[in-house]
């Protein structure tokens, strides 16, 4: 049974590979991109059911910017985003309470890196189950 298609956008190839294994183990189809531009291209080719997005790629804000861009685009705004971050410490922004607040951080969930396999699978399952 097809559980869903997930696109991982993260510039760390090792973390991407690890998450790919975890998610494929959970029965998901996984696609990946190493930066925002590549991510947008993958999106256009095959629309995923969920995006796992790293907050900090080449710039500390790249993930934020992409998430805003996606949420303001009618084609993609319904795709849930799970944001991965080590940014809590880096930028001084503790944005957990604001997750889901459209004006600030338009993502559905956020997780601090490194993510435990069980936790990642659970969050993904939750997000895909949401109406």
């Amino acid at each position: 049974m097809r559980q869903g298609r997930i696109l991982i956008i993260d510039d760390d190839p090792d973390i991407t590979e690890a998450m790919r294994v975890i998610l494929e183990n959970g029965g998901y189809e996984v696609d990946s991109a190493l930066d925002s531009a590549a991510g947008m291209n993958r999106l256009k080719e095959a629309k995923p059911d969920l995006i796992v997005l790293d907050v900090m790629m080449r710039t500390p804000q790249e993930g934020f910017e992409l998430s805003r861009e996606l949420k303001s685009n009618s084609l993609y705004k319904d795709i849930p985003i799970l944001m991965l971050t080590a940014v809590k410490q880096k930028t001084g922004l503790d944005f957990k309470p604001a997750a889901g607040d459209e004006t600030w951080l338009p993502v559905e969930e956020y997780l601090d890196k490194p993510v435990k396999p069980g936790v990642l699978l659970e969050k993904v399952r939750d997000l895909l189950r949401r109406p």
Partner: protein, 448 residues
């Protein structure tokens, strides 16, 4: 570092002059009383009492004015407060000259008191101002004694104290005036020289301090960059190991599983350390709190819930006693809760099985006091002064847990101090230690 020439300290000095003047008024009245009653010296008593009365009114007015200008934390400009000081000193010179005139003029050795005014002027005002004050003093005193000698101004002799006709001896008058003049100018010269040297030194210290702060900042930025990069690599290592450990890429034999588990445990410890260091450094760098009104009561219960499992595992009874008035405070809830959790975890960690941990929260005026007491291993006296330093771990704590970060208490100290509170620790007389910290209910006004 407090600057000698800042307007705040000038205001304090202005108040200080007023306090001195109360003493001077009392002394003038008392001296007049004693001299007229008990010593056979003739004095125009009513004139002297009048001066004391005028001085009293003058000082009250000055006090009220100063209070009005500095009311509700207002801080008048340095220029304004400096002007007030200048006028005070000049007025005091005039008053001293008047008092001397009515109490013997040149015959009264209290004219030495002009020296005090020169010292005060030299310390509080500029060099130029001080020379002007010295000139004013010379003009007032010189004018008085010369006019009295010439018979233009009435002379009130100190009968019974000084030789009667001395005030008319021109040699004596000019000789005294000459010595008086050079004394005042020399005094101003010396005092302002020393004052300026001290001022330069102070500026030097301030510059050095600013440089040190800049260097500390650079160091923190460096640590932040470094730890952040390390964390990225560690996160990747951890992610890969976890997959193997959970046998997502195939089954492991016992030995493989054991070794991978060891590796996982070490990377998580290292990650915990790096994360703690990142948070502490971030806090030191930004110094910024996300202030909000929050329920301290909720934070306390969250913290208690967080340590419950661990305490139960060691059969440690965790009791709490919270003052019913304690609830809402202004601060950063996440940080305060973490600090509380931190202290409770420490208490449980370093208390042997079956011990006790008690949390007390009290309201004490504008402060809330939180204490966490345990019946644990306590802290060796030699370690007590260093316990809040980064990476410092007490001897006996290292024996119990080898891999602690040594950052938990440093973080707690940062959090508490950023909120305008203080944190300290003491050993209990029987066993264990008590950590106490205070938080202002309204941290906003106290944030450094």
């Amino acid at each position: 570092m407090e600057n000698l020439f800042e307007s705040t300290s000038l205001i304090q000095r202005a108040y200080w002059l007023i306090r001195l003047r109360w003493v001077a008024i009392g002394a003038l009245a008392a001296a007049t009383f004693v001299a007229s009653r008990f010593v056979a010296v003739s004095l125009p008593i009513s004139a002297l009492y009048t001066i004391a009365a005028v001085l009293l009114v003058y000082n009250f007015v000055l006090y009220d004015l100063l209070r009005y200008w500095t009311w509700a934390g207002r801080e008048p400009s340095e220029r304004k407060i400096g002007g007030i000081l200048t006028w005070q000193i000049s007025a005091d010179l005039l008053i001293l000259a008047t008092i001397l005139h009515f109490s013997g003029g040149i015959e009264n050795p209290f004219f030495l008191f002009f020296a005090f005014h020169m010292m005060i002027a030299s310390i509080l005002r500029s060099r130029r101002q001080s020379y002007l004050q010295a000139t004013l003093a010379v003009l007032l005193f010189g004018g008085m004694i010369v006019l009295e000698a010439a018979g233009v101004l009435r002379h009130y002799s100190l009968e019974g104290f000084a030789a009667h006709e001395l005030y008319r001896e021109w040699t004596f008058v000019f000789g005294t005036l000459f010595v008086f003049t050079i004394t005042l100018y020399l005094l101003v010269y010396m005092t302002t020289s020393i004052g300026e040297q001290l001022h330069r030194q102070q500026q030097g210290y301030e510059r050095a301090n600013a440089q040190l702060e800049g260097k500390d900042r650079l160091k923190n930025e460096y640590v932040l960059r470094l730890t952040h990069d390390i964390k990225g690599h560690l996160a990747a290592v951890q992610s890969c190991l976890e997959i193997v450990f959970h046998e997502m890429v195939g089954p492991l034999n016992e030995k493989q599983k054991d070794l991978i588990e060891r590796a996982c445990r070490r990377t998580s410890k290292c990650l915990a350390f790096i994360t703690a260091l990142l948070r502490l450094t971030r806090m030191k760098l930004t110094g910024h709190l996300e202030m909000e009104h929050f329920s301290l009561r909720n934070c306390i219960f969250n913290a208690l819930a967080a340590v419950q499992n661990k305490a139960q595992g060691k059969s440690i009874a965790v009791s709490h006693q919270i003052d019913p008035d304690v609830d809402e405070v202004l601060g950063e809830a996440v940080l305060v809760e973490e600090t509380l959790t931190n202290l409770l975890f420490n208490a449980v960690k370093y208390t042997p099985n079956g011990g006790q941990v008690s949390l007390r929260v009290t309201q004490d005026g504008p402060f809330i006091g939180v204490s966490v007491a345990d019946t644990g291993i306590g802290i060796p006296n030699a370690d007590l002064p260093h316990i809040f330093e980064e990476f410092y771990r007490a001897e006996n704590a290292r024996e119990i847990e080898r891999d602690g970060t040594g950052l938990g208490l440093a973080f707690a100290k940062q959090v508490v101090e950023r909120h305008g509170g203080t944190i300290w620790v003491r050993n209990n007389p029987d066993a264990g230690a008590t950590f106490v910290f205070t938080l202002p209910r309204d941290a906003a006004q106290r944030q450094p």
